[in-house]
Symmetry: none
Subunit: 473 residues, 2 copies
Amino acid sequence: MSADTAPIAGVELSRVFEHIETNKDQFVSRLLDYLRHPSISAHNIGIGEVAELLVHMLSRLGFEARTIPTSGHPMVVGRWECAPGSPTVLLYGHYDVQPPDPLDAWISPPFEPTIREGRIYARGAGDNKGQHFAQILAVESYLAVHGRLPCNVLFLLEGEEENGSPHIADFVRAHRDQLRTDLVVTADGPLHESGRPVITYGVRGIAAFELRARAANSDVHSGNFGGVVPNPIWMLVHLLATMKNADGEITVDGFYDDVVAPTDLDRAAAARLPLDPEDIKRSLGLKVLDSPADRLLGDRLMFHPTLTINGFNGGYGGPGAKTVLPHEALVKCDVRLVERQDPDDILAKIEAHVKTRAPHVEFVRLESTPPSRTPLDAPFSDVVQSAVHTAHGVEPLIYPSLGGSLPDYVFTKILGVPSFVVPYANFDEANHAPNENIKIDCFLKGVRTGAALLDALGRFECSRESAPAEPAP
Amino acid sequence: MSADTAPIAGVELSRVFEHIETNKDQFVSRLLDYLRHPSISAHNIGIGEVAELLVHMLSRLGFEARTIPTSGHPMVVGRWECAPGSPTVLLYGHYDVQPPDPLDAWISPPFEPTIREGRIYARGAGDNKGQHFAQILAVESYLAVHGRLPCNVLFLLEGEEENGSPHIADFVRAHRDQLRTDLVVTADGPLHESGRPVITYGVRGIAAFELRARAANSDVHSGNFGGVVPNPIWMLVHLLATMKNADGEITVDGFYDDVVAPTDLDRAAAARLPLDPEDIKRSLGLKVLDSPADRLLGDRLMFHPTLTINGFNGGYGGPGAKTVLPHEALVKCDVRLVERQDPDDILAKIEAHVKTRAPHVEFVRLESTPPSRTPLDAPFSDVVQSAVHTAHGVEPLIYPSLGGSLPDYVFTKILGVPSFVVPYANFDEANHAPNENIKIDCFLKGVRTGAALLDALGRFECSRESAPAEPAP
C-alpha cells in the first residue's frame, strides 16, 4: 500500500472527521487547559487532582469512570460497554509527567502551555497528556456525531508511568475481570522522524543487576601488595570476559535458550523499515557499530538481547597515576530481553554463572520487566493498521519491536491480548526534556486516528479469539 | 646472629643514643611541626615552602644546603664533607606526600598531626617525612654530642617522589660530580610486621599507563541503542582480558623476556624471611592471595612483575539502576618491573598489544621507573647490616628486593654505587591511605639507626671501590 491507495473513510467516519475539523480550535484550547494542571509523579504533585479531572471528563461522556487506588498513585479506569457483540478496546495512557527540571531551560514555563509555530509547548504535551487526551476527544467526537460508540471502550490511565510503573502488573492481575478486553492500544512515543505513522508490536524486556567485588579490607599500595592481594577490578574484568565475548556473543549458559527467532513476517517488516546505520553513525560520531559487525540494524534493536555494562567504577580515576590496588569495585549491567526470555530466569542463570566463575563476587538483582510481543498477524492487527492508514492517509511503518522496555507485557502476558503502540507525538517532542511539545497537526491526527480505530473496530467480526493469558490465580 | 649477639655500641655512639633518649619529646614535637606543612606534589601544594624549611634545618646543622631547581619540583641537597679519608654516604628521602583523599575517611585531619596510642597520625608521617626527619635528627644528635660527623654526608631530598620521580634521573646525571658518594642509604617504607628491622637491596620498577576508550559522542539509552552503539567499557574489559589471564600470567608478547632469575644468595635470603601468607590474609581480611595460588610470598613481591589495574571508571556508579550506555571509560594501570626489565621497552610492548587488539583504544604513558638491585655481597653491605643491628639490638631481615618502586636505579645504575633501603616506619603505617601514621617508637629507633650508620661508616676503611657506573656523558 502507498499513500495513493489509502483506505477511504466510510460515511460514518467521514462525519466524525468533519466534526474534528470543525472543532479543532476548541480541542486545542481544551488541551491547553488540561496541560495547565501539573501531575508530577516523582514529586507527588497534582496527581489526585488530575486523576479526578479525568474521571470528570470521562463521566461527562457517559463512561462509568473512577479512580482505583494502588499502593502508589491511583489508576483511572473508565468503561463504555454498550456495544454488545462488538470488540472491546482498552486504551492505555498515563496522566503523570516527568519533573520539568531544569526550569530555566524552558522558553515558556512548563505548566503555562504556549503555542509557537504550530506547536504546543508544555510538560506533558507529548508524554502523555496530549496523546490520551486525543483518545478522549476521539471518543467524544464519535459520540457527538453518532450518539453511541461502534465498539466497547475501556480507558486505563496510569499515574506513575514516569516512576517505572511499579504497580501496574499487580493492578492488572488484581483487576483482570474488570479489564477484560480484546486488544490494547497505547498512544505513546513519537511518530517516525519523517512524520510517517508508526505501529509497534512489542518491546524488549529488561533485567538489571550489579556485581560487587571486594578483596582486602582497604585499598593497599600496588607495590607493597601487587601480586599478593587480589584485585577486585581484575576479578570483575575476568568475570565479565566470561559473560560476553568480543564478538558480541553472550556466553552465559542457557542465555539464548528461550529466544524465539523472528518470524518471516517480522523479518520482512524489519526489512521495510527505513533504518540506515550510516545515519546513526553520523549522528553519534561512530566509526563502527557494535559487534557483530554484520548484523542488520533492525535485528540489533528488535530481535537480539543485549548485555550492556551501564557502569564500571572502582579505584582511582583522577588525573595522573596513583599506585593503588583498590579493595572494591562495582559493575552495573542491564540485559535487554527478547521474547520469550524471562527476566527471573535470565537473572538466575547469570547469578549461577557468577557463583561458579567468581564465587567471591556479590550478585545483586535490580529492576526487571519481561519483554512483550504481539505477532504481526495477531487478531486486530489489520484493523489497527487500516485505521492508522485511513487517519493519516499514509501507510504506517510496522515495528515488530522497540529497543527499549515498557510494561506492555501486562497486556500480552497477563491479560493475554494483542497490544499495539500507536504513537501520536512528533519525533522531536522533547519528552523528558525542557521545551516538551506536540505539533497541533500531530495532536489532531491523533484524534482522527483514535476515531478511525473505533470505527474500524465497530466493523470487526468479533470472535473473542486471543493469545493464551497468564492463568488466573 | 641473634639479638643476644648484637654488636654493642661503642662509647661515641652510646653518648649519641643517650642524647636521643634525653631529647625524644622535643624530637616528636618537632616532627609534628614538620608534618603540619602540606607538600602535595600531585597538586603542587606547599612544595616550595617545605623545601625551604629543609634547607633551613640542614643549614642550621652546618650543612652547605640549597634547593636546586629541576623542571619539576626542586631537589634539596645538603653536604657535610669534613671527614677526608672517610666514606661518603648519600641519604636519600622525599619531602612530598600523597594527596590525602578521601578526606572523610581520616579520623583526624591529615595535616593536623595527632598522637593516639603511641602513633603520630598525619599525611607524610611514615611516607616519608617521619623517616628523613629521623635522619636529620641523627646527624643533629651526632653533631650535638661530638661537634663533628664521623663520615661525609650528603642529603638528597626529592619533592616529587609521589609523582614518580620524573626528574631525578636527569638531575643525578647532570649533578653526578656533586653527588659523588660511596653508598646510598634510603629510609623509606616499613619495618617488618614483627617490628624487626629490614634492609632492602632493591626495588621493583614501575611503568604506569592509561587506557582511554570512547565510542559515541554522548551517553545513550541502553534500550534505544543497546546492541547498536559500541560500549567503551566492554572494549576495555575485552582488551584487559587479553593482557593478563585469570591465572595471573601477563599475556603481552615479550613481557617476561628480560626477567633475570634470582641468584642463590637471593633465594637463600628470601627463604630466611618470616613471610607468612596467613598473616597477610588475616590482616587484610583476605580469603585467598592473588593468582597463581602456589607462588611463594617472597617470590610474589621480589622476583615477579605485576600488572595492577589502579582504577576502572566509566558510566553510572550511583544507587539503583540507570539504563545508560556510556560513551567513555578510563582504565589506569601500573606494572611493577623486576631486574632487568626496562620500562620503556615494556610500555612499548603493551602499546603494541593495545594497537593490535583494540585499535580504537587510546594508550597513554604515565610515570615509569626502572627496577634496581644491589647484590647481597656488595661493598658496605656488612657495615649497613651491622649498624642496623646495633641500633635495634635485633638482627635485620635482608630483603633482596621490595615490592614497591623507588628511583633507586639512579644510584645503582647512574651513580654505580651500592644502595640500601633501611626503612624506619611501622608495618601498618597506612602510606598512600587515610590515617597514615608512624609509631613514635619506630621514629626514635630511626634516629638511632641513622646515628649508628654514621658511626659504623666512620670506622670503615674506605677503598672507594664501587660497582661500575653509567659512563659519564
